[in-house]
Symmetry: D2
Amino acid sequence: MTSTTAMSGVIPPVCTPLTPEFEVDTASLTRLLDHLLDGGVDGLFILGSSSEVAFLPDAHRKVVLDTVLGHVAGQVPVLAGVIDMTAPRVLDHVRVAVEAGADGIVATAPFYTRTHPTEIAIHFRTIAAQAGIPLYAYDLPVSVHNKLGADLLLELAAEGVLAGLKDSSGDEAGFREVILGRRDRDLPSFSVLTGSELTVDSALWMGADGVVPGLGNVDPHGYVRLFRAALKGDWAAARTEQERLLRLFGLVHVGGPHMGRGSSALGAFKAALHLRGIIDHPTTALPQIPLDADEIARVGEYLADAALV
Amino acid sequence: MTSTTAMSGVIPPVCTPLTPEFEVDTASLTRLLDHLLDGGVDGLFILGSSSEVAFLPDAHRKVVLDTVLGHVAGQVPVLAGVIDMTAPRVLDHVRVAVEAGADGIVATAPFYTRTHPTEIAIHFRTIAAQAGIPLYAYDLPVSVHNKLGADLLLELAAEGVLAGLKDSSGDEAGFREVILGRRDRDLPSFSVLTGSELTVDSALWMGADGVVPGLGNVDPHGYVRLFRAALKGDWAAARTEQERLLRLFGLVHVGGPHMGRGSSALGAFKAALHLRGIIDHPTTALPQIPLDADEIARVGEYLADAALV
Amino acid sequence: MTSTTAMSGVIPPVCTPLTPEFEVDTASLTRLLDHLLDGGVDGLFILGSSSEVAFLPDAHRKVVLDTVLGHVAGQVPVLAGVIDMTAPRVLDHVRVAVEAGADGIVATAPFYTRTHPTEIAIHFRTIAAQAGIPLYAYDLPVSVHNKLGADLLLELAAEGVLAGLKDSSGDEAGFREVILGRRDRDLPSFSVLTGSELTVDSALWMGADGVVPGLGNVDPHGYVRLFRAALKGDWAAARTEQERLLRLFGLVHVGGPHMGRGSSALGAFKAALHLRGIIDHPTTALPQIPLDADEIARVGEYLADAALV
Amino acid sequence: MTSTTAMSGVIPPVCTPLTPEFEVDTASLTRLLDHLLDGGVDGLFILGSSSEVAFLPDAHRKVVLDTVLGHVAGQVPVLAGVIDMTAPRVLDHVRVAVEAGADGIVATAPFYTRTHPTEIAIHFRTIAAQAGIPLYAYDLPVSVHNKLGADLLLELAAEGVLAGLKDSSGDEAGFREVILGRRDRDLPSFSVLTGSELTVDSALWMGADGVVPGLGNVDPHGYVRLFRAALKGDWAAARTEQERLLRLFGLVHVGGPHMGRGSSALGAFKAALHLRGIIDHPTTALPQIPLDADEIARVGEYLADAALV
């Protein structure tokens, strides 16, 4: 079920461009894919949180799957989020993703319902048993309100249930425990990816295989430079690149207190892609609040400071 | 969009019986409906948290809708949960519920995504605009990780967006603020229902219209007696009934520390229905942990103490 | 250690008036005591959260103890908060309170440190063993970040460790479990007091002995009327009074988003006492933000609406 | 108020040895200081969370201050925690610490009370204005239930209010924002210390000045080797040392589910110091649960694996 080499490198969570009528803008999506591939990314993660998966009806999810897998056509592996509340619902998404040709799937622990580590294990085992393609655990406590423990992850890795981890928990000590545990248990094909996009040099230094950076939509070239510098041991260059990206990341805060932090961050990513000429509309899905003209102008300043426009 | 009289009385959130193969057990579901109607309930709420909605794939949700609406056939109003992460996904469930003939729909605030009061308002407005049947807000912070404020609810009620509230927040002061605000703003058709099943006498005393009690699956007659006593002003009888039900409610804790609190509570409700001969299997959906024989025996003791078996 | 009759009635948590130089204003404090006694309160709770105990150095706490116990001189019982992080620190406050002549002490579970139910039990046992006067548990999750369970409380009551409970958790189902458990275990002298000041009629209806209302500083007469109406079984009058007080309670929200919710609530209580001519200054302790003139004016409107000024 | 060079290096938070009667064991404390100084530490932090400050009455705090400052006698700088709920209470501890000769003080944001960023700023300004010695902010959300923002910290650093930060928040992205912000605003004397003891190589790599490791009580030599390796640019050696320390850190989990996580961690540190022959008793303060013999034996295994006994 799991591949023999761990997934690695820069694997951005692909934004989902929308038309002003809130349909998937496939032309923009295709251009975004080209922008990312041109940046040299090593894989793509579609239908994750940065893709606004929580806002996409099943029909939209399918359009994204078909558009991306059709366009990428095997140039890089494509992981597909199958985000839903529990295994029985997740499995419906799995079937669609497998049919569309995804190279792997990404699932969180159960959410909405109150859960327990033993239940989380059953959840992942149930999904893996039916998927037939590699399953990655997505640790995202800010959405799921639950932290995946290192012991649980390593046990599921050893069982062959999990092919990897995308860790967006921000808990670097727990992340390191997974990395060391993988080494101690000799699970080299278990892929350990960080979603903490502001400490990528540090995660790679600890032994992570790669990164899933939301900001990688806006500046894939930067994250690829960072990763390649680390790969060849030029850690000072990796750090300099990361610090530049950290400053650019400030654009997620342009949205005022009249909107949620998700609206601000996703709105800023899309505004940046629009300002860079990659997508046609900065539209985010309902019920998110759009950025106003001033806020978009501030996104532009961040891009200018980073020499991206 | 909203009805002229507020929904009221005892409206249990109907459990979803399952076969050992995890399919919807429609024969048991039909018997459960008869049991509830026999108890004298005033309405039914299907596809809510006590219905394990988070564990039901769309196909199962549709079976539940069709089975219940077909069998109830207008004897009492049926509200259908349309639980999903955000408005665009909720709307798919709304279409199915409307088509099946539901009398109203019940939606939470957005979850999984980080949100904001203004976004919550847009979320409910978007749903109501397309539903064409009454929309009830479901306040369930334990699942949604967000509390609906009284001001927001009353504003949406005044706009005609919301037909009512099912409050499972446990915040009785906030609940009372809604009740008084409804009176002050003269919104008599806005239905205020509590999901706090251990303080129903108190909620009715404050002015609530009704209750949505999970335990009402097990003992609908008890909740109906409680409600009718309150209705005719016999508050002492209502209190005595509530205290008996509070003791019976202890069955939700029979599950040990090796399972989540949801597994314990839903497992106990279903075990009780099984022991009472109403449903064929106490099966709960994956990845929940089933109660073991000892735990089920303890459920039986609670039923015996309450003279229900 | 525990008295034979449960503490009951209206027991306001007494505000601590301050001079503009942030010293305890004993003249104002004395007038506030007279205002409360004139209102007919049944007891006083000093050095609780509404007393700004978290902001009072030990020397100020001692001034409050001496001033209140000297002035009240046995007219009503006085409970003293001994709020600190863990038993060893709490015991220092206990000694001072006992020496000053307090009739009982009020302690929370440990805070700042991560704790456990067994540790909480040891904590209360340690305090009770040395206090020599009745010990009341203070359940205040918003400050302590921990909820006291009904089983733990009843066990400590049965042991004679706890003389009572002040429940400000807002968890009415848990509160009711304590009330029924007290009856089942025949612990009539264990006093069950609610701090949920907007549902007092309901708490008394469930069987609570009394209330510790912060708003009782501003309008003790109202809470005493509420309690006495309930006592003689005139629940409709109790409810009407509670609804009036709920509307008055809106004054706690006058403070804008530039301050914490504590600054707003305590600032409003003190502004109201100042506007009513009872205390000389509306000063709150550092680092709280004072209400501005507009916000104080809005407090005045609430008082006018309640016919208190 | 602030020194011209930033505090740096390994600054362990010194455990507070206790006698079986729960008095400060000054002889053991002195030996622990010698152990740490022998390890080559660059400073000491007394009366912090690892010192069980939440469990120490004021008299014990003073004994610790006098013992440590008398014994260390200027060999390394000593920072003293002044942990209490709000500025007015903190100031009492400040006076004692200053009188005892502490080189700096360490304070958290307000806790127990609900607070606000503007109030936190006033809190720190009030403390700094009266301290007369450098003030360090202690960011510890697990205890304080509040996260100090980078902007607030940098503003207070620029004002000269804060001399440094001890960050135990685990939020490495926020930590890095402080490090870059310090560089951008040219605040080289603002000391940035991490309390995240399992990612010290990474924190130093990002630009942190030092570390405050609880585990440094047990193995100061290890942390000093880690720091010195980083200082001379031998990052691979630093990482190897950190990975060894991460494995040793597993000892904090030996305590079973019958105790709190604090009891387990502090109990393990003290058991290790006892097994290493440095302190006379592994006693932790009430109401913490002591480790049992089996749990202590497991601590011994961790020490043996790390070649420390």
